[in-house]
């Protein structure tokens, strides 16, 4: 019997579907990873409440204040509960006490003024840790008001269950 000699060719794998999928994945990850929340400090353990709704309209000007604690690996507070810190980038220190943060608020208000933004239109986004004494949060609001900020947003995570 005589067979027809088949020509053995090195078949090239069709890459197109794979590339399609990989592009899809990239698109997915770019959308999902939001760089918006980079101002949020992950050391702050926010309180939870189902009523906390992400804002529908993006606020124009926001000043984030992260008020929290340094915690160890098991989540316990290092230091005293009555002494939370403001985590702030752009100053000469990395963390400030509430009282130390007062001049920074005035400085921020001045900077907004120089940019031509009225501090009254800036929303102070207050991300306070769930264990911070309420009085200190109120002091922070008071200091912000003294620095002529008027709008506030108290942040919480939405309960999922």
């Amino acid at each position: 019997m005589k067979f027809k000699k088949t020509q053995v060719e090195n078949p090239e794998i069709d890459m197109t579907p794979m590339i399609d999928i990989v592009f899809q994945l990239i698109a997915f990850f770019t959308i999902v990873s939001n760089f918006d929340q980079t101002k949020a400090d992950e050391r702050v353990k926010l309180p939870r409440d189902p009523m906390a709704k992400p804002p529908e309209v993006k606020r124009e000007n926001e000043l984030y204040i992260n008020l929290g604690y340094v915690r160890n690996k098991s989540g316990e507070i290092v230091g005293s509960r009555s002494q939370p810190y403001v985590f702030y980038q752009g100053g000469d220190k990395e963390k400030y006490t509430v009282v130390e943060f007062k001049p920074i608020l005035h400085q921020e208000a001045r900077l907004y003024g120089q940019e031509g933004t009225d501090p009254k239109t800036v929303t102070v986004v207050l991300r306070a840790d769930k264990e911070v004494p309420t009085g200190l949060v109120q002091e922070m609001i008071k200091f912000s008001q003294e620095a002529s900020f008027e709008r506030f947003a108290l942040m919480a995570t939405q309960k999922t269950d």
């Binding site: 890459m15 990873s33 189902p50 009523m51 309420t134 009085g135 008071k142």
Partner: protein
Amino acid sequence: MAPMIDVVFQLLIFFMLTLKIIEPEGDFNINMPIGQSGGPPDMSITPIEVQLIANEDGTLRSLNFGTRSLGTGDAAFQALNEEILRQIGEPGNPQAKDTEATIDADYGLNYEYVIRAVGAVTGRVNPETKQIDRYIEKVKFAPPKPPAT
């Protein structure tokens, strides 16, 4: 083709590694007239006052609505939510727009209880429709009372 695939994989890995799963966070959409509000208070509307009393360690000792204690724990916040609903009649009542609630919390109280009280005062998530029913939008904080040192 091969270099492009290389780069695309690099990108893919970069985005996968930088991905942080963050819980959605939001605020309460409240007006916060802090301090002395201008003008005489409107007498036609019963003011709502919520008082939060703290233990030494910052936990909640008692949640008071007006002069009545609602207890502590989840049930207390649920009761507060129901009391508020009774006050305003129904969700979205136009009169509720002018109602102002004052939250008077102890200085050392954990902030989480204040947020829960704010949540209970501002409304609830309707269990049937999963929509938010708004109760009160104006929430005021009583001035802080620093502990005597």
